[in-house]
Amino acid sequence: MTTLAFAILLVASLAAYALNRRAATTIRDGGARLHSVSNYHGLFALLLMLVPVLVVILIWLVLQGPVVNAMVMWALPAGTLDGLDTGQADLILAEIQSISGGRIFGDPEPWKLAAAAHLTELRELAALGLVLLTALLCLAIMYVARRKVAAGFRARQGVERIISGLMIFCSVAAIFTTVGIVASLAFETYKFLRLVPLTEFLFGLNWEPQIPIRADQIAAAGAFGWLPVIAGTIVITFVAIFIAVPIGLLSAIYLFEFAPKRIRSVAKPLLEILAGVPTVVYGFFAILVVAPAIRSLGASMGIPVAPNTALAAGGVMGIMLVPFISSFADDALSAVPRSMRDGALALGATRAETVLNVLFPAAIPGIVGGVLLAVSRAIGETMIVVMAAGLMANLTLNPLESVTTVTVQIVTLLIGDTSFDNPKTLAAFALGMMLFIVTLIINIFALRIVRKYREAYD
């Protein structure tokens, strides 16, 4: 039925286009001078119909589900929902929905069957309503648009105004996304902080996100101090940066200054491949190759190594960041004005001295910006650590031990069942909030450095 509504809209708007275009052509053929060419008359009708009706259909579709559900729950026999919390009520609703979808398990109570029938009926009604509404709106708009066609009508300006509006809406969508992120994180974090005090979250030294299964259960009250989690993140990030920065910078310097053209034309695309490999692949690489290698190396040297070392996850993450850093360093080095380089060479400096003593210091701000962006990437990187790092929070700075990170905790807390009313799932949103804030600050800082520096030389 939804498809039918869209089909009606499509056909009607094409019809409106043809209708108005023909009308305008007729006026022109009658000898009048049109303000806009007839094509714009047609387009005006098309857009006038397409945009508002599409918005109406989408709003209807978003609201239909919740409204129908609310009506079904409201129509249940009085007293069935007394004393049930939202989770149990949702369970009943889900059962009614699955009965109405034809999947009946066991022998449901008759009132559930009745509710399911009611639900099916309401859904059909809603679908029919949507189709009727679409058809009516289309007809009305077609009539209005057709009435507008006249020799003096400024159809082109009308079309351009609508397109301008659409483009402004597109630009604002980016802001909507940010607002959506901030609002959803802030809302769930607020709910979390009502259950767990802020001081415990920020300064607590224990992270044991459990919730009691029964109300009277002892010793399962969980602890929500994020310090061990952020400590693990810092350890892994440090390992990654420690590997990525030297390799990335040295290869950038080599490619920029010394490499013959042939090598450069092969090496750069190869580095891009390294950058394009999905992180889940790196994660699998970490557990398949790197972690066992580190473990057997540790065993051969007699050092105890945890199975999910920070070293494996951080090392693989470092490899992932190499192309990132080398491309930033390359950009920064190329942005240094040629005159500085020529000056140094003319004074008799070797190429190595030119790069190290002239170009590199001049490029430092850009490189630092790139490294900061790499740090923010490493903090926010998820799949490698989910697959290769540990799950237990462990307040340590030793990279040979198993640590957990903010992103690992977010994913493990939210995989599986999610109800938005216990500290365990809400904690993931609080962690997400902290992650967002930390990476945002680093990003703004880094982008500002990169941009300012670029302007200084342009």
Partner: protein, 432 residues
């Protein structure tokens, strides 16, 4: 040989001499820097090589599947037309295997269970589907090829070491003897594993395939494209060509740049609380995954589109304006078509990133265990990267090579998309 008197020697040493004296040292330093550079870049390539090599060495074995060819007598006593699709297909198949193994006592139920275990759990359903399709086969003998179960598959691919002590091995000596006997008879052979692409997920490695994941990724990418492409292009055109230079457009610009650097898992949190929690969209649906990926891809498309628009020289705009075109006619009639190759390249690269994105899809539940391919974008499904994650997490040995194979499939798709992007860029992009 001349003796240079001490004292005057210092005077005679010119700057040039000093330079010459230090030159060797300085060149050595340059050489060291070069060696460091070459080492660094080789290290990076070595890692890339190890990564690909380990994937190929473990993954190539999943592209073949060990199958056993059986002469099955469809015993009317076990399977009857009236009871279809029910029937004891397992027994019929086990009897067919046992017919090839003279040492087996067909009355011994424990032994027959071991014999039946040679076959994959999916074999009975394969036979059932065939019999349901042609019920007249009952009572006849047919030839059918079915996959063997995972341990035998591993054995056939030399992944199971016969030297391991028996109690640590997944197959004991009798089972290996059965296998050897069947190989001798020519019943067991490896064939191209088409199931890898045509089957959906399964608990049994020998039956698990990527069809569901590929379809899920397809629906998610389609949704992502349909949303992020128009939105991204619209935003980019407005910001680049029309927007007045003011606080708001500055803010939007900073916003977009930051959005491109927000960790992907945060987008997953947004999707979970807004799309699923607030709008009530279904969990695990590729549509929701596509929506989430669209939000992440949009900044990439906007940035690429703006760069492509910027590359169109102002003279084109001025010429069109001079001929009396309106600002929008200039942009949509001339600038955008000229920038299109760049825009498409950026879009494809953005979509390729979206295809490899995993974390946000995990949060919206696209890591569910689903044994059928999604028919619409609203059905539960997995995506290629989440399928890789699920298989990488599975304890069965057979999933190790399946995971590598799935990664190779994913990388193939990514390489194809990037190749198209590169082709578009080189073929259509103009240099002014």
């Amino acid at each position: 040989m001349t003796d240079i008197p001490s004292g005057s020697g210092a005077v005679a040493r010119t700057t040039m001499d000093k330079v010459h004296g230090s030159l060797a040292r300085r060149h050595r330093k340059q050489l060291i820097l070069q060696i460091f550079g070459i080492t660094a870049i080789s290290l990076a390539f070595l890692m890339l090589f190890i990564l690909l090599a380990s994937l190929i060495t473990t993954g190539h074995k999943a592209f073949t599947q060990t199958e056993i060819t059986l002469e099955v007598f469809i015993d009317p006593e076990e399977i009857s037309v009236e009871r279809l699709p029910r029937g004891n297909f397992t027994n019929v198949l086990a009897a067919a295997v046992a017919a090839d193994l003279p040492s087996v006592d067909q009355q011994d139920r424990a032994e027959m269970r071991v014999v039946g275990g040679i076959l994959s759990n999916g074999a009975q359903f394969q036979l059932r589907d065939r019999v349901v399709e042609e019920p007249e086969l009952i009572g006849q003998t047919i030839t059918i090829s079915v996959p063997v179960s995972d341990p035998y598959d591993q054995l056939h691919k030399d992944l199971l070491d016969r030297e391991t002590p028996e109690n640590l091995r997944r197959l004991d000596d009798t089972q290996i003897a059965y296998y050897d006997r069947l190989v001798e008879n020519g019943a067991i052979a490896a064939s191209l594993n088409t199931g890898l692409l045509t089957n959906a997920d399964s608990r049994f490695p020998e039956l698990a395939g990527l069809k569901g994941a590929i379809m899920g990724s397809f629906w998610a990418l389609l949704t992502c494209f349909l949303i992020s492409f128009p939105l991204g292009i619209g935003a980019a055109i407005y910001l680049e060509e029309f927007a007045p230079k003011n606080k708001l457009s500055d803010f939007i610009e900073v916003n977009i740049n930051n959005l491109a650097a927000v960790p992907s898992v945060v987008f997953g949190l947004l999707a979970l609380s807004v799309f699923i929690g607030l709008f009530g969209l279904p969990r695990s649906a590729p549509f929701v995954g596509g929506l989430t990926l669209a939000l992440m891809t949009m900044p990439t498309i906007i940035i690429a589109t703006r760069a492509a628009l910027k590359a169109v020289p102002p003279s084109i705009r001025e010429a069109a304006l001079g001929l009396g075109a309106s600002k929008q006619q200039v942009v949509f009639g001339h600038v955008v078509p000229l920038a299109m190759p760049g825009i498409l390249t950026g879009t494809i690269i953005g979509l390729a990133q979206a295809l490899g994105e995993t974390a946000p899809l995990l949060l919206i539940g696209m890591n569910a265990f689903i044994t059928s391919a999604p028919a619409t974008p609203f059905d539960s499904a997995t995506a290629l990267p989440t399928q890789i994650f699920i298989w990488a997490d599975s304890p069965e040995r057979g999933f190790v090579s399946r995971t590598s194979a799935a990664i190779l499939v994913l990388l193939t798709f990514l390489i194809m998309m990037n190749a198209i992007a590169i082709y578009l860029r080189s073929k259509f992009e103009r240099k002014w």
